[in-house]
């Protein structure tokens, strides 16, 4: 929109909003740069130097956070790869191959998009208890693979691909799987990137399921671990350390976001269209 608006009201409102947005983040950072003892007396000291990195070096010595980080990384990567694989295969099947019941089944999958977490989580918890899958990586990975969003995205994407490419491959003697693997899949990289980053982020940030499934502290994901730190805060480590943990925990996800944000934005744009 052509904004010739040097509108001062809008400008100051935007500035206020930006400050309100950034303030909590800045505050957290400042708190993390102060020693615990000092903060115990008063947090106002965070507003002025000197600052120290002692909390961060404490974290580096504190093994639990790294364990949590590892768990999150393993689970998020596994779910991302799993979703990409399953969704691409299913997406191609729904988009390009005809089989009995295809359209009806696809609609059922789409309806799955509307199912909220709480409608399935109790029964899933029961199921996984019976299968002894709690406090395992499998227990944390499997539920994420069922999300219909990926199938929806990949189906739309494959549907939009020009048929001529497939027909050329067909005439070149390629089997269906080869056509999928050598031709269509490589060309679907943008959609894969969007789906991948979206899945990675949402898996990393998951709270409720890991909370009730990974109850041993060495199976905590980073998200759950940070919550447990917060709950135990009073009797354990100290405010500075806690806030450093928050910064530390934000690090990986913000880095991933910055690197891949192009795909996220592209995905949102395509969704809005």
């Amino acid at each position: 929109m052509n904004s010739e608006r040097r509108n001062p009201i809008l400008f100051s409102a935007l500035a206020v909003a930006a400050i309100a947005m950034a303030a909590p983040l800045l505050w957290t950072l400042l708190l993390s740069l102060k020693p615990n003892a000092e903060l115990l007396r008063s947090t106002q000291t965070a507003l002025s130097p000197p600052y120290t990195g002692v909390n961060y070096s404490d974290i580096l010595g504190h093994s639990a956070v790294f364990r949590w980080l590892l768990n999150s990384a393993i689970v998020s990567l596994a779910v991302t790869l799993g979703v990409l694989a399953l969704s691409s295969l299913a997406g191609y099947g729904f988009a390009r191959l005809r089989f009995p019941g295809r359209d009806a089944i696809f609609i059922v999958v789409l309806l799955g998009l509307s199912i909220p977490e709480q409608s399935v989580i109790i029964a899933r918890h029961q199921m996984f208890s019976v299968l002894h899958l709690h406090n395992t990586y499998a227990g944390l990975i499997l539920p994420g693979l069922a999300a219909p969003f990926g199938v929806f995205l990949m189906t739309q994407y494959f549907r939009a691909m020009p048929r001529e490419l497939e027909e050329a491959a067909w005439l070149d003697g390629a089997s269906r799987f080869k056509t999928f693997w050598r031709i269509l899949l490589p060309l679907s990289l943008p959609a894969q990137a969007t789906l991948g980053i979206f899945t990675f982020l949402s898996t990393w940030n998951e709270y409720w399921w890991p909370l009730i499934s990974a109850t041993n502290s060495d199976m905590y994901t980073l998200t759950v671990g940070v919550a447990s730190s917060q709950m135990n805060f009073a009797q354990t480590n100290g405010l500075g350390f806690l806030m450093a943990q928050a910064v530390f925990a934000s690090g990986p996800i913000l880095i991933v976001y910055v690197i891949f944000q192009r795909y996220l934005v592209a995905g949102v744009s395509r969704a809005a269209a």
């Binding site: 929109m1 904004s3 608006r5 809008l10 909003a17 930006a18 309100a20 947005m21 950034a22 505050w27 957290t28 708190l31 903060l39 106002q44 694989a85 295969l89 299913a90 191609y92 099947g93 729904f94 191959l97 005809r98 089989f99 295809r102 089944i105 509307s114 199912i115 909220p116 709480q118 409608s119 399935v120 989580i121 109790i122 029964a123 899933r124 029961q126 999928f180 940030n205 998951e206 709270y207 409720w208 009730i212 998200t223 940070v226 919550a227 917060q230 709950m231 405010l239 806690l242 928050a246 925990a249 934000s250 996800i253 913000l254 976001y257 944000q261 949102v268 969704a271 809005a272 269209a273």
Partner: protein, 291 residues
């Protein structure tokens, strides 16, 4: 010929089978199982009795549950309109190619990338009367601190504020994408028709992004009805259930008291509420074109 068609069908089924297996086992089965569960009274030792709709009638008389429904509806009313309008305003203000806008967009979106546990940790230290950011600022101004999270009237609004800070990115991005889809010619025609800034906004921009606005409202409604982490971590639903949302109720009943059937029933009711709210909004907004 039929052979080719049969081969295609077989291939097709092989391609979708892996996902459908996972879908059926981990989405469909638990969904149906949950519904079945809601008709039972399950106890800690694995036994269960079929009690039909007794869980549901118990819920309708459960003061805590009803409180949680009221809280959740109130919460949605506080967050969804603000998220939608603020998201739109930000999108309008930041929809250009300048470096500054790109940075600001990044700022407003980055909070959405953080997990609920990090967000609550950050905001705990903003809201807490003893050492929180707001408390410190109030102290500097000579005012006494406000105990947001332990005040029954302020707890839920404080959570709402946290949530708005957290979730503003998505509506903003959706609106920006929608704004960029509006054809330039519309604006140029309006300029030639001497339309001012406000009129262009009202008559051209807003109608053009109507569909996205509906989507934003529906999505945010669905999301915010499922409020859980912020309440659980910041207030544990207190004080005195003043900030207890439905999902936290389900969590407490199902995973702390292990009254699983009862919790399942509550989750089915929530599902219905969400569906109702979403469908109502969708159909109400899709009214036939006014002239």
């Amino acid at each position: 010929m039929t052979q080719a068609r049969r081969d295609e069908a077989r291939s097709g089924m092989l391609f979708v089978a892996p996902y459908l297996l996972v879908f059926a086992a981990l989405l469909v089965y638990p969904l149906l199982s949950g519904m079945w569960l809601s008709l039972h009274k399950a106890d800690l030792f694995g036994g269960s009795q079929f009690i039909a709709s007794e869980n549901y009638s118990r819920l309708f008389h459960d003061a805590v549950f009803l409180r949680s429904v009221r809280n959740t509806v109130w919460f949605v009313a506080m967050t969804v309109p603000v998220l939608t309008v603020a998201g739109l305003v930000l999108a309008l203000a930041l929809n250009d190619r300048s470096r500054r806008s790109a940075l600001l967009r990044g700022l407003f979106f980055c909070s959405s990338v953080l997990s609920v546990t990090i967000v609550t940790l950050i905001w705990r230290m903003v809201l807490v009367p003893d050492g929180g950011l707001i408390a410190d600022l109030l102290a500097r101004m000579g005012l006494s601190p406000i105990a947001f999270l332990s005040d029954p009237r302020l707890a839920l609004p404080a959570i709402a504020l946290t949530t708005i800070w957290w979730c503003i990115g998505l509506p903003m991005m959706l609106f920006i994408a929608a704004l960029q889809q509006v054809p330039r010619d519309l604006y140029e025609a309006a300029a030639l028709d001497n339309a001012g800034w406000w009129r262009t906004l009202l008559r051209i921009t807003l109608p053009a992004i109507r569909r996205t606005a509906i989507v934003v409202v529906v999505i945010e409604t669905i999301l915010q009805f499922q409020l859980f982490g912020q309440a659980q971590i910041l207030t544990l639903g207190g004080p005195n259930n003043a900030s207890l949302p439905i999902v936290l109720f389900i969590y407490q009943v199902g995973f702390q008291r292990w009254d699983i059937g009862y919790a399942a029933a509550a989750s089915e009711i929530l599902f219905c509420i969400i569906l109702l709210a979403a469908l109502t909004q969708y159909f109400a907004a899709r009214n036939p074109r006014r002239a």
